[in-house]
Symmetry: D3
Subunit: 272 residues, 6 copies
């Protein structure tokens, strides 16, 4: 997907029709509110593609205060108008994700400075790369990119195995075959959590558990000292501290993907 082409297509009718393409101008991107910025690398690619000269004042992950300039560029009006909206969109959406991720990270670290905020593979289809880069700019990490980089056992896998004997046998094979990976199992009750901890799961992904059940799962870490516990499902800025307080090792969430875009101001001016 060429992002510039998605927005501009074959031509910019308005700029052509007004006959202003050959004028020289400047375009300045700044933040309308305090944000954690993301999307800089992608915008730089757009600016290069449009033959615009640019100056960066910020890098991905930087704090930007209200009205602070993020980057500026110069060139033909035809180039500025090509680059404008897709660059603004990249910064608004990606900074929105970065800023919200950073909010979750900050809230969570107030309770436990070692907590990790990890985002799921439930990104908007086609937008995985952009969304994950924004998450990392905000201080989060990818939980798993997809089925190719990690092992995560769901109930939807187990139904094809049948009884516990079969599960245990196949789980052992899985764990052994992919010994370079940590093995995660999604569980939604204590019994399953205990079972998978006991047969060697490295990590339990506790799905939409109530506080009490989740606490019991966290307590398993005493019996299984290498076990890591995460909480997933329904986490957001208003409840994240509750989960962290229980003592989970990390939080798995899709919430940053739906964060509201931030507002980026774009000022254009003529260069005489």
């Amino acid at each position: 997907m060429n992002l510039l082409h998605e927005d501009i297509g074959y031509f910019d009718l308005t700029t052509i029709g007004l006959g202003i393409g050959a004028c020289a101008g400047k375009m300045v991107f700044s933040a309308k509110s305090k944000i954690v910025v993301s999307g800089i690398d992608e915008v730089v690619k757009i600016l290069k593609e449009c033959d615009l000269k640019y100056t960066l004042f910020k890098q991905d992950g930087d704090d930007v205060t209200q009205n602070e300039i993020i980057l500026e560029c110069e060139g033909f009006a035809s180039s500025l108008h090509k680059a404008w909206k897709i660059s603004q969109n990249l910064l608004e959406y990606m900074s929105g994700i970065a800023t919200y991720t950073h909010l979750l990270v900050t809230l969570a670290k107030d309770i436990n400075p070692h907590i990790v905020i990890s985002t799921t593979r439930k990104n908007f289809p086609s937008a995985k790369e952009l969304m994950l880069k924004a998450v990392m700019a905000g201080g989060g990490v990818p939980h798993r990119l997809g089925t190719y980089d990690s092992i995560l056992v769901f109930k939807q896998h187990l139904i094809f195995l049948g009884d516990k004997a079969k599960i245990q046998e196949r789980f052992a094979v899985l764990k052994h075959k992919f010994l370079e990976k940590k093995i995660t199992v999604e569980v939604d009750n204590f019994e399953d959590a205990y079972y998978f901890a006991s047969i060697g799961a490295d990590m339990l992904q506790c799905e939409k558990m109530d506080i009490k059940t989740l606490s019991s799962c966290v307590a398993l870490k005493k019996e299984f000292p290498n076990l890591l516990i995460s909480s997933t499902g329904g986490v957001n800025e208003s409840n994240i501290q509750n989960f962290v307080k229980i003592g989970v090792d990390f939080i798995v969430t899709s919430a940053p993907y739906h964060a509201k875009p931030v507002d980026i101001r774009v000022d254009m001016s003529v260069i005489e």
Copy 2:
């Protein structure tokens, strides 16, 4: 962008490691709440790509009640696990957009049954096609796809033209050259609105105007009977009726793009 590849990559390690790929199974997608569904066509492509047999119970734009089945499919467990999450993501995100668009449309039509809800080109980069299809499933229409299909004059164009004489001359050229298009101008005050209506703008896009100014702009329709007025900026479900009441012809909004995904239940079962 191949959406299946984005999620699955080279292989599904968990399914391979558990050795369940050759089992036969069934997968059913249903709505956890009342929604307007979207994403069916895209899911069908995924199911075909995974060699799954499927039955559709709904089409894009259909209402789905809580727990109602949207579609179901059958085939190898390896195929079901490949198709699962990306299909669920497509339905959740796209139905989220469709459902929210439909909410805006319903609220607006309660006031004015002829109102049109139109969405901007400020989609998530790389997701324009999916987002616009979802908007249309919800009863909205695309405002403009990009710079190639429509004329929209911004202040950022006008600064390159200078004085009013020059603007008027070039505006006439633009309007004439692209006589098959309606010419829109974005304005944020009454003076500009009047000016562009008087030199022949077909549509005014009233950007973040207060109610009083917007009302004055709508009143221009008396003097300029073919003029269409839209309101844009900051529209959402809590304020849309206020804008409609003023008498605008259509609403331009990006809000549906950030709608929260709906919850889609996925039930998998073994076929013996």
Copy 3:
């Protein structure tokens, strides 16, 4: 489609076999006859891809007199031979389209300086972007890019609607739903023309009408002052003035797409 790869593939056997790749040379493109040039931007991309230094003497849309230089470039013989034919092809085909479009525009404007020459979506498959850029260089505009950017009702749509009552109802819905677009209907007789003008068509595309019928359609503009009339089908340099004289607002044609390529001279020389 990478245009350079289409022509060069993996390598240039002749240049390799003769062992001349490392020599330095210069390549000059000039016009063998008076033309309106197009393809400059595409050639520049090729030259950059081949690491050639270049100087442009013309821009898309410029007049070039016989023997006048359009652009020149320097670099390794291997690069010159890579860039040569595809660059020549781009200039010859695109300037052919631009020059012919310009001829039509000139002929038409001799009769009516406000006439617009608009080209159809019947371009050579895969060549839409290049063909439309050439049309614009010659002073034409795109009639419609495809089905996604404009509304054009054909008989082939109407047959699925049945009687006039149904047509009228659905036409109203169409017009209202896409209120940001002008609605065009293709008609081939006066009765249909009158009918669609009366139910609100913004533009009539008069398909292969005789002069008398077309004149009657143009006369509808008195009754429907906002109505725009175009003529389409069989327009070329020998008959275009006849259509313009009748008073149509614009001409819709595919003729420029089949224009004969112009001849571009390519002189190569050694840099000692």
Copy 4:
């Protein structure tokens, strides 16, 4: 390049707006005049992509008489309208090339039944595959696809070699290195023709020679019995027989690429 996407993009606004997509219909393609048809395989791909059932009455290269049916298809009106214009375009442009190639072949074979009509690499950029398939449907062959499949020495190569001694030495290397290829040299005078025949060229491409010079080149075949002679430059239906009469082995031409598209009738009807 996805040809369907080039024409349809994200959606077909007219069909959606009129609400006719779910109707069933039939579409029939027939020839408005006698043609040699081409583009069938490409149209079949489009029809499949649109989920249309089809019947073929002709294959690429077949003669089609006036009003004869080429193919027909059935399905949803939404699918018919998606497939319509791009299919028509493919058939019109490709059959135009095939028909014109066939005319050249027929004219030439009237004089010499062994003559070969070969088309250059000067196709419209991005359309090489479609244009060459059409040429082959009309009885022609590709002269060379590009620089990767054949050896063709131009003056623009020789200038980098300098004197005759150097040319002779490098020509021998070239011929030896690529011994699996026939070596062609483009010449525009008899002296060069004789020279390259004498140092072992397999084929001479005689560029825009007058009849007398070309005859002298053909006469070289007596002294060099394996030598093949072609004529190139400015060949068309009105002069091709003159070149063939001289006794060349084959004709190299770009003329079919600019052939006028043929007219294909498309009839659509409702299936009740």
Copy 5:
């Protein structure tokens, strides 16, 4: 990369020139020697693309004895000749990798049935997916797909950190940030091995160590019971058992990527 296009391009000149395309035929793929087969899924895609009917007798990872049939297909001679060589290539190269991987696995498991054979990211550029699928068919697993799915610390990282204090601090951050991943360090001496084991490495990748040093590293597993030890560099079928005997947990190797292709017989016959 479309594999069929890479081999066939625009057309198959020989089949066209001989005029045999419309004949019906059958093509049978069998093994010339005992192999572990791979490439079946890729061949099936080719056969479908060529509209050939096929029957599979084997799946990826199956043993095939000498002369045993792997798959057969039927259709037009033009389709058989299109599909032939690329299908044969896929089976020969991928089965070559699978068979060699299987040899390594068998040799290693003779010594330690729990050993894992893992292949590096040093595949032939552009062939990662095909090579890794073949490795898995032979019983191996991917060590890491690239930099995006796993953590592997090289000396080339550490030089940018400076002294041990800095390394220890940053290593802790790395380990914590990516707590869902096992952290591997490549070491080539015991001192480094001990150091990284002591600061929490999950796995040590022992690069080209002599037997004695490698044994000392394996002995670290007593002090660090969760530590996994792998051997990498220069492993092949003649020495793999030596490494396994020392007690490493897994072997990391690129050797299967350069395995000689196996011979696949292709028999074609006419269907009358």
Copy 6:
């Protein structure tokens, strides 16, 4: 296929996790043994894509002695770590092919300085371009790229023609239709060789013949002075001289494609 993306994907977790990306460094590629280098152009593309400054000491096809530097580059550690492995892979695999091709060429030319080493279309699927460039760097040439650039008649074609009369007729058509190509036939016995030489084959590809049969085929060159003879099947460095001694014109082989990669040392250092 973007080669950098294949190796790096969305990000380099290790470099990010260690926080070293912004350090400045230098990376030097040198040969661990005497090689013929290939892959330089592809590595240059990678280095540019990673914004690294580079200096080249060698070009494709150059000899590199042990420890000699091939190229070096400087930039951010994040860029060096992105470019590292894929660049090393390109140089190792492509130089492996070039070095082995060069060995075959050298051995063969010791016997006959005019011999040509030509490589088949049986490359690793998806790697044709890289493999062929490496072959050419080593002094070989491509035998045929695929079915689109050359004529090669196999038994698998002939079975569809039937008796000799039919073969002879169609062979004549083939030869005539593609008169710009040399026509090759693969044969595995003298009788067929004689037959095809007598009906006008330009080249015979002698498949896995014993020395005596091959010698008889070479002897055909006396009767058919333009006939070229190649040997194919099972050629490698230990037997190539035997084939050359017989007097074949060229050797057709796939052996270089499976050549073992050479070892390239990569030294990274900090720039203070």
